[in-house]
Amino acid sequence: MTLDRIRKTAVRALAILSGLLLGIPQASAAPTTLLNVSYDPTRELYEDVNSAFAKEWKAKTGEDVTIRASHGGSGKQARAVIDGLEADVVTLALAYDVDAIAKAGLVKAGWEKRLPDRAAPYTSTIVFLVRKGNPKGIKDWPDLAKPGVQVITPNPKTSGGARWNFLAAYGDAVRRTQDDAKAREYVKALFRNVPVLDSGARGSTTTFVERGIGDVLLAWENEAILAVNKLGKDRFDIVVPPVSILAEPPVAVVDRVVERRGTAKVANAYLEFLYSPAGQEIAARNYYRPRLSDVAVRYEKTFPKVKLFTIDEQFGGWQKAQATFFADGGIFDQIYQPGS
């Protein structure tokens, strides 16, 4: 290679490089965009919501809007928003994570009162996914603590979904026995039956489904239905316990970001769309329980009747539940000894 050729190649490479660099801002300088930072299993849900909302917004205002989406573990996503991920709206797994964003000053306090139903447009619950034919005969929460039953659930220290699982089990035990000590004994026995504690809900599903470990997976209802539909109806059954927890995945506008980007109006409209009949229909189609009763009626077959208790009535809200159960030295740390 001569000197001249090296120089020419270098100049050419630089030209291409600068072209690429200049090309990026141009490509993303589209009309209005919103970024929805969400948790793991909502991809299909928000793909449907986003295109439906964009259509409706265009019809209403004549403006184009593109909604971008980011998915990951709920806690990790909240952390990213606090660290500067420019989310116009967050749609996370639990109120605790939105509280964390509010504490960092990005979302105004009282966010859960700005939208109906504690800012949770759709709900879910915790159900059991078992092997086809339910060979271990798992019907209700006490069955999970029986010897010889292997339960798969992620680590409540790291996973939002796992906290719902834990509180569902504990809440049911307290309601059943009216005794906190007995409820602790119960969850202790339950976690003795957990052979692998994955760090996230999707990891647990993979452990149960792909690696074939365990007799029962504690999962969000929408996750369980999705797993059965995607991975084989002939391999799994869903068991809905008589009583479970009402899981309310909250949504919020990130005030600091929309103020800066001037997207407050469309961001609010986007979240309100989730409460509209069209939005509720999409939620139900993606296996989230709708709030609107006339949509719920049409999906009765998908969502069996369960007696549901809420975090607020049973545990006095997320902040309190977090401190009591999942903080360092809390009840989970007391009852769970790894490897025993």
Binding site: M1, L3, I6, A13, I16, L17, L20, L21, I24, S28, L35, V37, D40, R43, R68, A69, S70, H71, G72, A80, I82, D83, G84, L85, E86, A104, R202, E210, L226, A227, K230, L231
Partner: protein, 286 residues
């Protein structure tokens, strides 16, 4: 040295030789061959069409484009840096040289996740430079610059590490001769040093590129996982896997395996070229 055939340095008993060979082959099969084959088997499980579709969805194309852009920025910068650093370290004598060499090695010793977290700590909203960046509407983390920064950090030793030992063994005679004959600094660099090191430079660039395209940990922390925008190919593989799209995940993963294949082939070619060119020189040496 080329041309030398296998020599039995020690007369080990046959069973030792066989056991060691079996262990080596077994490991190779278990940890390299089997997973590589598996990636393609899983990727093609649902047929060729699914495989091709998985690689051509808009999201996959966006991921591939982002990975190429990232490498196109990180690799030239690291090449320039590696060249300069190697030159500076081997051609001059100064205090603190060992410290600088160890610093260059640092990214090899640090988990990539940490490099990602440091980037967030520095450039993230609550970070050291965060408020200033936000006031000036400059986005670093959760955008292309952050991904490039994290990639540069992880890959910066490759070129320098490749060049330093080469320049050291080569010595400075040729450059000194050029200097005595009246060549200037840049002239010496472009006419003497660069032509001599070009093959090991290329080798470093190839390795640097492979790592830049394959990096997961550091990029995962700074990406923000915005679909179609900040997902590189390795991140996209994880997303597909998490969404039960196993065949698609392995299809896209096979791209990275192919990249590894190309890297290996390019590496072999460069080694072979380099030896070919150097042979007459070493032959004429006394």
């Amino acid at each position: 040295m080329p041309g030398r055939s296998t020599v039995h340095l020690v007369d080990d008993p046959a069973w030792v030789r066989w056991t060691l060979t079996a262990v080596a082959l077994g490991f190779l099969t278990l940890f390299v061959v089997a997973p590589t084959v598996l990636v393609f088997v899983e990727g093609l499980k649902r047929g060729w069409q699914v495989y091709v579709d998985a690689l051509t969805t808009p999201e996959a194309r966006d991921a591939i484009r982002l990975t190429l852009i990232t490498a196109a920025i990180a690799v030239p910068l690291n090449t320039a840096f590696g060249l300069a650093a190697a030159w500076w370290i081997t051609r001059f004598r100064w205090k603190g040289k060992t410290l600088v060499v160890s610093l260059i090695d640092l990214p090899f010793g640090v988990s990539p996740v940490i490099s990602g977290m440091v980037t967030v700590l520095l450039f993230g909203a609550p970070g050291l430079l965060g408020p200033w960046l936000q006031a000036h509407d400059i986005r670093i983390v959760f955008a292309l610059p952050g991904i490039v920064l994290a990639t540069i950090f992880v890959t910066f030793p490759f070129v320098a590490r490749e060049l330093i030992p080469f320049l050291e063994t080569q010595g400075t005679e040729e450059e000194e001769a050029a200097h005595i004959l009246g060549a200037g600094g840049w002239q010496i660099f472009f006419r003497v040093t660069l032509p001599n090191i070009k093959w090991s430079l290329l080798y470093g660039v190839i390795l640097c590129n492979a790592r830049a395209m394959g990096e997961f940990g550091a990029v995962s922390v700074v990406s923000g996982h915005i679909r179609g925008e900040t997902n590189t190919v390795p991140l996209y593989v994880e997303i597909l896997y998490n969404e039960y799209s196993f065949a698609a995940a392995f299809s896209v993963a096979s791209l990275l395996v192919l990249l590894a294949g190309v890297t290996l082939a390019a590496k072999k070619l460069v080694e072979w070229k380099a030896r070919d060119l150097r042979r007459p020189e070493t032959g004429s040496a006394p």
